[in-house]
């Protein structure tokens, strides 16, 4: 049975780590989670990002956040990747499988996946 004591252990484990991490995340993944995004399937996409970032140990470099509607509801689920000074990359109609691939190739490997971006969708 899960108990609150386990949280105390998590805290102990984390205490040293937290100090190192502050202000270090350079990449932000923003998943559209307004009504339009949620209805189009954004929740499992968000969860896929959160889980994969944790699994690949990218937590120090990448933060996953939820954002509102950016006015292109027909392309939801929409995911934007902001990386330092680079131009933002906008992925459209993202599925959980695509999310895992984006973590692997783009966030970890440094290469955006052109065919999933809004540029490719609008051709």
């Amino acid at each position: 049975m899960k108990s609150l004591e386990e949280l105390a252990k998590i805290r102990e484990r984390m205490q040293n780590k937290v100090i190192l991490r502050e202000g270090q995340a350079s990449t932000r993944v923003a998943v559209g989670m307004a009504t339009c995004g949620i209805a189009a399937g954004a929740r499992p996409v968000l969860n896929a990002f959160v889980e994969e970032v944790a699994k690949q140990n990218l937590g120090d470099k990448v933060t996953v956040s939820q954002t509102g509607c950016i006015g292109m509801c027909r392309f939801e689920p929409i995911v934007e990747v902001f990386e330092g000074d680079k131009e933002r990359v906008t992925y459209v109609k993202v599925t959980p499988d695509m999310a895992r691939e984006i973590v692997e190739k783009h966030l970890k490997g440094g290469k955006p996946i052109a065919e999933y971006t809004i540029g490719a969708a609008q051709k």
Binding site: M1, K2, L4, E6, L7, A8, I10, R11, R13, M14, Q15, V18, M33, A34, T35, C36, I38, A39, R43, P44, L46, N47, V50, E51, V53, A54, G59, V64, S65, Q66, G68, C69, I70, G71, C73
Partner: protein, 186 residues
């Protein structure tokens, strides 16, 4: 929406937009009925906005002029023969007791009842996106003569985690998921 849990996620985000620091989600189920309540201590709605909020052309969003969160929940409830109720007190009127509560009633045995779905993911998604807010989640089930309650209160968690560990740390989110799964499985 394919699952009510997605409506819940959508409506709870309104509470966060309204600057709530406590969001209480309660599901009360019997064999034939479901009552859902989402209650917050945010800045509330003006009587004018409250009166118009069922209308999809009433919204706080700025990217377009249609807001569908409450109308979609209303539709999901009404298509089972149920409905929704909204009460709200504005912060400017009563800063101590302000907030909004939306209650939705469903007849579960109606053909058009939308399944509750993955409500655990709704809770973890809220914690992930808005870890500075506190959440109380209660799911009461009184079905087939048996009674069960699944509950989570992030204020208890915060007492232990302190300021060092945010609610959206992956290990904390995993703990929440497993804790709720265990309670449902019991």
């Amino acid at each position: 929406m394919k699952e009510l849990s997605l409506n819940i996620l959508d409506i709870a985000q309104n509470s966060i937009t309204a600057e709530a620091d406590l969001v209480e989600i309660t599901l009360d189920e019997t064999d034939t009925e479901l009552t859902l309540s989402i209650k917050d201590n945010g800045f509330g709605m003006s009587p004018e906005f409250l009166a118009s909020v069922h209308d999809p052309f009433s919204t706080t969003r700025t990217t377009r002029k249609v807001g569908l969160g409450i109308p979609l929940l209303k539709l999901a409830a009404e298509q089972t023969g149920g409905g929704i109720e909204l009460t709200s007190t504005q912060r400017s009127v009563d800063p101590e007791n302000c907030g909004t509560e939306i209650r939705a009633f469903f007849h579960k045995d109606h053909l058009d009842f939308t399944p509750i779905g993955d409500v655990i993911s709704t809770v973890t998604t809220l914690l992930q996106g808005f870890p500075e807010v506190d959440y109380v989640f209660i799911h009461r089930m009184r079905e087939n003569g048996a009674e069960k309650t699944v509950a989570l209160d992030t204020r208890d968690m915060r007492t232990i985690l302190g300021d060092d560990v945010p609610l959206n740390d992956p290990s904390v989110l995993l703990w929440v998921r497993q804790m709720l799964e265990e309670q449902y499985a019991q």
